[in-house]
C-alpha cells in the first residue's frame, strides 16, 4: 500500500515511472510432513520502464528540437522579409523601376522626379531595415545559443550529480528508482539540445557523449562553451568542449541555432548584398552617362552623376546631390529636357538578365531567394510536425508502460485492503481459538 500511495502521489510528476513490488512466496519451512508455507516476502521494488522506448524518444527529441528551433527562426526570417507585401523589397524595386518609366513619359515634371526620389528612398530604407533586422536576429540567436549552452551545462551537471547519488544509494540497497527517473528525465531534456549517446557502467553511472564532445563522464560533468570566431570569411559561432576543442554540432536545438547563425542568415544577407550592389552598379552606369535637367539662365544641362552611393544592402544610399535637388536626376540622353531615353533605359534594368551567367534579372534573383526561403520554411514546418507526432506516439507508448493509471492503483488499493481484511480475519480466528484454549484452563 505504500507503493500504491507513492504512485498515486506522483501521478502528475514528469518522468515518473510507476513502481511495483515483486512479491514471492516466502521460503517454506521443511517439516516431516512436507513443506509449510511461511506467507509472502517482498523481493524488490522495481520501476516499470522500457529502455528501448527511452532511446527512441531521445532519437526523435533531437530532431524535434532542431526542427522547432529552425521553424521558429525561419518564421522570424519570413516576417523580416515581408513578402508578398507592398513593403517588401520585390514590390519596392518594381515601384522604383516603374517610376523611371513614368518619368520618361514626362521628364520635365519635378513632381514625378520627387516621387521617384521618394520611391528610391523607400527602397533604400527597405534594404537598410532588412540588413539591420537580419543582423539583430543573428545577435539574438547568439544569445539564445549561449543560454542553451548554459542549460546543457546545468543538465549535465545534474546528471553527473545523480550518477554519484545513484552509485551511493545502490551500494546499500536495491535500485534507486526515483533517482533513476530523475536522471532519465534529465536525459530527455538534454536530448532536445544535442544528439546524445550514452552508456551505463556496472556502478550505474552514465557516460554521455554528443557529436564529437564528451558531456558527462562518471561523476564529472564536462562543461561546453560557445564562441564567435572570425575564420577570415565570416564570423562563425562555434561550440567547444571542456578542453577547448571545437565540435561541429548539427543536431538538436544547438545544431539548429548554429546552422541559422552560420549559414542561413549570412546566406540571406549575402543575397541582399548581391542584389543591392548590382542595382547600384547598373543604375549608376546608365545614370552617370545621362544628362541632368537643364537649369539656370539660359538653361544648360550638365553631365549625369551617380544615382546611388554605397556597395551593399547596409551602405546603399541616394547620392547627396539628388537628395538636395531632383533636377540632378539624369533622364535625358542629349541634354534636351523632353528626352527621357536614359530614364527608359534605367527602367529597363528590370528586364536585364545579369545574374547566373545572364539568365536571371534582379527580380528573378530576388524571387528565387524568397522561393527557396519558402521551401526551407515549409520543410522545417513539416519536419517539426512529423517529429512531434512521432514523439507523441513514442511518448504515448512509454506512458502506456510506465504511466500511473489511477484506476489501476485504486483497484490495487481495494485488493490490498481486502487481503488486509482477510489477514485480519485470520488473526481474529486464531485469537478466538487461543481464547477457547485459555478459557479451558
Amino acid at each position: 500500500m505504500d507503493i500504491t500511495s507513492h504512485n498515486i502521489a506522483n501521478v502528475n510528476t514528469p518522468g515518473f515511472s510507476r513502481q511495483r513490488v515483486e512479491n514471492k512466496a516466502a521460503y517454506p519451512m521443511q517439516l516431516p510432513q512436507g513443506q509449510l508455507g511461511l506467507g509472502v516476502r517482498s523481493e524488490q521494488i522495481v520501476r516499470v520502464r522500457d529502455g528501448l522506448l527511452d532511446a527512441q524518444y531521445r532519437q526523435t527529441s533531437f530532431s524535434l528540437g532542431n526542427a522547432t528551433v529552425k521553424e521558429n527562426l525561419y518564421t522570424q526570417l519570413e516576417s523580416i522579409m515581408q513578402e508578398p507585401d507592398e513593403t517588401g523589397i520585390g514590390n519596392l524595386m518594381t515601384d522604383f523601376f516603374s517610376e523611371f518609366s513614368n518619368l520618361a513619359a514626362d521628364p520635365e515634371n519635378t513632381a514625378i522626379r520627387s516621387t521617384l526620389r521618394q520611391k528610391a528612398i523607400s527602397l533604400v530604407d527597405a534594404f537598410h531595415r532588412k540588413d539591420e533586422q537580419l543582423a539583430s536576429m543573428q545577435e539574438s540567436i547568439r544569445n539564445d545559443t549561449l543560454s542553451a549552452v548554459d542549460q546543457v551545462n546545468q543538465l549535465t551537471g545534474q546528471i553527473a550529480d545523480l550518477n554519484r547519488q545513484i552509485t551511493t544509494a545502490e551500494i546499500s540497497t536495491g535500485k534507486a528508482n526515483d533517482l533513476r527517473d530523475q536522471r532519465d528525465l534529465l536525459l530527455d531534456k538534454l536530448s532536445e539540445y544535442v544528439k546524445i549517446t550514452y552508456t551505463e557502467d556496472q556502478r550505474g553511472q552514465l557516460t554521455v557523449n554528443t557529436e564529437g564532445m564528451n558531456l558527462v563522464s562518471g561523476v564529472e560533468a564536462k562543461a561546453i562553451s560557445a564562441k564567435t570566431i572570425n575564420d577570415g570569411v565570416q564570423i562563425r559561432l562555434q561550440l567547444m568542449d571542456s578542453n577547448g576543442k571545437t565540435a561541429d554540432v548539427q543536431y538538436g536545438r544547438l545544431g539548429g541555432m548554429l546552422e541559422m547563425y552560420n549559414k542561413t542568415i549570412p546566406g540571406m544577407l549575402d543575397k541582399l548584398d548581391t542584389l543591392s550592389s548590382n542595382l547600384v552598379t547598373e543604375v549608376n552606369r546608365l545614370h552617370s552617362a545621362g544628362q541632368r535637367l537643364p537649369v539656370g539662365d539660359p538653361p544648360t544641362p550638365s553631365a549625369g552623376i551617380d544615382f546611388f552611393t554605397g556597395t551593399d544592402a547596409g551602405t546603399i544610399n541616394i547620392s547627396r546631390e539628388i537628395m538636395d535637388d531632383v533636377s540632378n536626376i539624369a533622364s535625358s540622353v542629349d541634354g534636351t529636357p523632353g528626352n527621357g531615353e536614359v530614364a527608359i533605359a534605367i527602367s529597363n534594368i528590370r528586364n536585364q538578365k545579369m545574374f547566373n551567367g545572364g539568365s536571371q534579372t534582379l527580380d528573378d534573383f530576388y524571387t528565387g531567394a524568397i522561393n527557396s526561403l519558402g521551401i526551407e520554411i515549409q520543410k522545417s514546418q513539416n519536419t517539426r510536425q512529423s517529429q512531434e507526432l512521432l514523439q507523441q506516439q513514442i511518448s504515448n507508448q512509454r506512458d502506456a508502460a510506465s504511466g500511473v493509471s489511477l484506476d489501476e492503483e485504486m483497484t490495487n488499493l481495494i485488493k490490498y485492503q481486502r487481503s488486509f481484511e482477510a489477514a485480519a480475519k485470520v488473526v481474529g480466528a486464531v485469537d478466538e481459538m487461543m481464547q477457547t484454549i485459555i478459557n479451558m484452563v
Binding site: 518594381t94 520635365e108 523632353g338
Partner: protein, 297 residues
C-alpha cells in the same frame, strides 16, 4: 493497451491545440481575403504571386504612360485642326485676292493674313501641362518666335526635331510627338508662306498672290498629312490601352485564383473545425472526471 490519465489528457490537448491552429489560419484567410499571406503559406506559388504582382504594376504604369501620351497627342491633334481651319481661311482670302480689289480691301486682307500668321505662331506654341507639344525634346523653350516687326519667324536654335518617347510595353518604346520642324518648317515653310502672302497683299500684287496659291495648298497638305499620322497613332495607342484593360482583368483573375481565399470553402471548413473543437472540449471535460475514485466509499 494500458491507457493512463496522462495519456488521454495529453492526446486530447494536442488535438485541441492543432484544431485551434487550423481555426486561426482559416480566420486569418477569411479576414484578409487572401490564402497566401506569407511566404510559407504556399512556397510553390509565392514566385508566381510576386511575378504577377510585378506584371500588374508594370501594366498599370504602361497604361498611365499610354494615357499621358494620348492626352498629349489629343492636344496636338486639336492644334493641327486649328491650323487646318486657319489655312482654309487663308486659302479663301488667297483665291479672292486674285480678283480686282480696292486698296482698302487689299489692306484689310493683308491685316487678316497678318492676324492669321500670329494665330499660326500661337498654335505652334501650344503646350500640354507646360510642355511645348511642337518643341521636339526642347519642351521648355518656345519652338517658334515671331520677330517684333513681324518679318521673321525664327525656330528655336536648339532644334524642334527631337522625338519624345514613351514606354508602352515591355520592350515597346514609341515616339508620340510630331515635331515642329516637320509640321511648320518641313518641305513647305508655312510661316514664310504666310509672311510672303501678307507682304503680297500689302503690295497689292495680284500676280504674287496667285503665285503663292500653290504654297498655300501644300501647307494645307502638310498639316493634313501630320494630322493623319497622328490620328493613326492615337488609334494604335487606344488599342494598346484596351488590350491592357482586358489583360489586366485576366491577370487579376489568375492571381485571385492563386492567392485569394475561397470564402465558401473556408467558412465550411471553419464550421467543421469548430464543431470538432467543441466535441474535443466536451469530451475532455466529461471524461476527465470519471475515475474509480468516484465509486469508492
Amino acid at each position: 493497451m494500458r491507457i493512463t490519465q496522462n495519456y488521454s489528457v495529453q492526446n486530447l490537448l494536442s488535438r485541441i491545440n492543432n484544431s485551434r491552429e487550423r481555426i486561426y489560419t482559416l480566420q486569418r484567410n477569411l479576414a484578409t481575403g487572401k490564402r497566401i499571406n506569407q511566404i510559407s503559406d504556399d512556397p510553390e506559388n509565392i514566385e508566381k504571386v510576386m511575378k504577377f504582382n510585378k506584371s500588374l504594376k508594370m501594366m498599370a504604369q504602361f497604361q498611365d504612360n499610354l494615357k499621358n501620351a494620348v492626352d498629349f497627342m489629343s492636344i496636338t491633334a486639336q492644334a493641327l485642326n486649328d491650323a487646318t481651319d486657319v489655312l482654309a481661311h487663308v486659302k479663301e482670302l488667297t483665291v479672292q485676292g486674285s480678283d480686282s480689289l480696292s486698296p482698302d480691301e487689299w489692306n484689310a486682307f493683308a491685316e487678316q493674313i497678318d492676324q492669321m500668321l500670329k494665330q499660326m505662331v500661337d498654335i505652334s506654341n501650344t503646350t500640354f501641362k507646360g510642355r511645348y507639344v511642337f518643341g521636339g525634346t526642347n519642351t521648355t523653350q518656345s519652338p517658334f518666335v515671331l520677330s517684333p516687326d513681324g518679318t521673321v519667324v525664327s525656330q528655336n536654335a536648339d532644334g524642334t526635331s527631337g522625338s519624345l518617347k514613351v514606354e508602352i510595353g515591355e520592350n515597346k518604346i514609341e515616339k508620340y510627338n510630331i515635331t515642329g520642324e516637320d509640321t511648320f518648317a518641313g518641305s513647305t515653310d508655312i510661316f514664310q508662306t504666310l509672311i510672303d502672302l501678307r507682304d503680297a497683299f500689302r503690295a497689292q500684287d495680284g500676280d504674287a498672290v496667285r503665285g503663292l496659291l500653290a504654297a498655300v495648298d501644300s501647307s494645307q497638305n502638310q498639316i493634313l498629312e501630320q494630322s493623319a499620322n497622328l490620328g493613326a497613332k492615337i488609334n494604335r495607342f487606344d488599342m494598346f490601352a484596351r488590350q491592357y484593360e482586358t489583360q489586366d482583368l485576366k491577370l487579376k483573375q489568375i492571381l485571385s485564383d492563386i492567392q485569394d481565399t475561397d470564402a465558401a470553402k473556408a467558412i465550411t471548413d471553419l464550421q467543421t473545425e469548430e464543431t470538432g473543437l467543441q466535441t474535443a472540449l466536451q469530451v475532455l471535460a466529461k471524461t476527465l472526471n470519471i475515475s474509480l475514485v468516484d465509486y469508492m466509499q
